[in-house]
Structure formats: structure tokens, C-alpha cells
Symmetry: C2
Subunit: 228 residues, 2 copies
Amino acid sequence: MKIGIFGTGIVGQTIAEKVADLGHEVMIGTRNVEALLAKSNPDSYGRPPFKEWLNARSGIQVATLDETAASCTLLINAMHGMGTIQALGSIDPSHLSGKILLDIANPLDFSQGFPPTLAICNTDSLGEQIQRTFPELKVVKSLNTMNANLMVHPRAIDGDQTVFLSGNDSAAKETVKSLLNSFGWKEREMIDLGDISTARGTEQLLPIWVRIYAGKGTSLFNFRIVFG
Amino acid sequence: MKIGIFGTGIVGQTIAEKVADLGHEVMIGTRNVEALLAKSNPDSYGRPPFKEWLNARSGIQVATLDETAASCTLLINAMHGMGTIQALGSIDPSHLSGKILLDIANPLDFSQGFPPTLAICNTDSLGEQIQRTFPELKVVKSLNTMNANLMVHPRAIDGDQTVFLSGNDSAAKETVKSLLNSFGWKEREMIDLGDISTARGTEQLLPIWVRIYAGKGTSLFNFRIVFG
């Protein structure tokens, strides 16, 4: 399966590495390929420039968002939540038609510093906004409730955790479940919450996520739903 | 310890029963005592009228909100979240002075049906609104992330769960922790998130709580934070 990843930051890189390790063809999409590859300074987190990361990983391609959408069957949104709608708008709609978009982003607003707020209130969600704006996509929201490393290395924590799924298309959710399974997620750890409007629930987990992160000083934690 | 519980619905009743069983003096506060005791029909959930419940439980007193605040040292808010500020406003502020208010309510808005939304966005919380409006109180937000029965019978679920605490006053949080411990909560299950603004995190768990409840058909579940 050829997988396209929108977003070149640490989340996109982490997902791309795992997906490539699993043997999939991987294309990373970005708004401006030349500008990305011209960067020679560390990013704001002190990470090496993208080009250095890319050079160490043969087989991962970089292309525009439109080229990535056109040539991949499964797309993953790892861009900043607040920029997603505008960025996806640069893609020819025919290149999105019928494609699955796994949306792992959150509409975090850092404009007032840390902890960030969510720019979307609990009466809507980024997942729904994407689905409404691009009805030709099959949007599945998942993995957005945890650190990027844990998304693709869930066994970094002992014992069961929970990963949620939201989306209108059952077959698309099954495809995403298979991908999650290949990352190491167990079937019993997956909770399908229902249609894409249930993304309101998972996105609103971020306000407590950022506070547990701040209080405990680690991002190596996750939610688990325990039943009686 | 004399404990005052604001709210006469199923949440208030469930807490009152447990607190009375533990040997505390319990007073239930309501806006209009006469009207409450005059009710002779089942409530909207089909539960018997309050008076029947009360008659079966000797030792639990009923009084106005003001009388309850005046005579109790620990207060518990089990009213509808949306009516809390107005209801507390009927109490003589001197009767709230220095008292701990354990706020277990959520600002749920059922006006558009089920699932409810939260009337307060993630840039504020009911816990903070109460603390701002009644600065003479020491507000501790806790227990608002689960079903009422589980609040006071946590061992109804096997294995560890998580109960969160938010509040500006450390001593008040310690008092609440002792109460939680007497309900059956283990120290290791408690996460102190920090000041009362962290109630934004726990109140925003409700959008996913209501969807898990709807999807699984049970309220006997809880959040657990698992660490690596």
C-alpha cells in the first residue's frame, strides 16, 4: 500500500519511519518541497533539518501535497491542526476522491502559550470540519490522543491502552484498524466511537493530556478505558 | 465531619447514602424544602419521590442551601452544573467562608438532546467559574469524570482507575483525598492536576464519556491513565 503523509514535523517523520519499516511505499507531502529541502537550520525543537533526516532514510519520497494525494491510496494528516483545512484546499479534489484520510491532528492553539487551548469548541471538531469541507474524502480520526512515538510503538507502555476511532465509513475504519494492528495495537484496545462527530470526544481529551504532560513531566502515558 | 450535599437527584442521593454509611452527619441542601418533600410522583428517570427515599434513611437531614452551608464543614456540589452559580448565589456568603466545596458537577447542556454538549468551552470551566464567583470557598474539582455509583464504589470495577483533582488550596485537596480514600479510592489512583484551571481538562472528558456510554450501553466504565 502506498501511504501519503501530510506534514514534515516530528509527528510526520515518526509515522513515516514506522510505515516505511513495515514495507509500505511512503511519500511525504508538503506545501513547498524546495523550501523544505533548502532548510539548513535545526527546527524550533532543536531537531536537525528535514533534509538530513530524509537523507538517512532511503525510499521515503517527498512531493507536494497534491502529488502525494494523487499517487497514494491512504493519506495521513500529520500537519498542524489549525492549518489543515487551508493546506488540503491546495489539492485537486479529484486527487482526494474516495481516498481514506487518517486524521491524527488536533486543533491546538498555542497563541496564548502553554498549555494550548483547542480552537474548536466541543460542538464541532477538526475531523468533522475536514469531512464537511472535503466530502470526497473518507475521514477517519484516530491516534490523536497520544504522543507520536506511542502512536506507532504502543508497546512502549506495558499493558493495555485505548486507541479510539471515529468516521462515517466502516470499510475505511477497518483499513485503519489493520494499519493500527500492524503498529502493534491489539484489537481489544480499539474503541470505535461511531461517526466522525465523535471526534469531538477525542479532540477534547487534549486539555487534560497537556496538563498531565505538564504535571508528570513525561509524554509516555496514555488513556485506557476500563470496564466493569 | 458534617457534610453538606447540594442537590437532591440521583447523584446527591448516591453520595449522601455513602457518606452516611461512613458515619458522617449528612445534610442535603435544596432550594425549596417544602416543594421537594411535597413531590409525590416519580422523577423523569422513574425513581421514587425524594420523600420516599429520605424516609428509608434515618439520620439524613434536609434543609435549605443556606442552612446546609451554615452548618456543614465540607460541602459537595451535586446539582446540575448549569444551575450551580445561581443556586450558590442564594447562600449568605459568610456561610461559605473558608468552606471546602467539592464540585462533582459538569456544565452539561441537554437542550439539543443526547449526547449533551458542554456549555463551557475549554478556555474556562465550571470549577473556575464557581471559584471566581465565590472566592470565599475553597473549590476542589473531582469525581466529575464518572458515573455517580462509581464515585463512591470504585471497586465495582476490577483493577486501578484514575480519579483527578483540581484546586487552588492544597490542604483542601488533602481533605478531599481522605474522603476519596474512605470511598475506596487508592492513593495511587489519584492524580492531582494542579490549580482549579485544570478542571478544564476533566470537564472536557465528558464529550467522550457520553459517547462511550452511548456506544457500549453501560456507565460502568472509567478512565485510567497508564504510564510507561
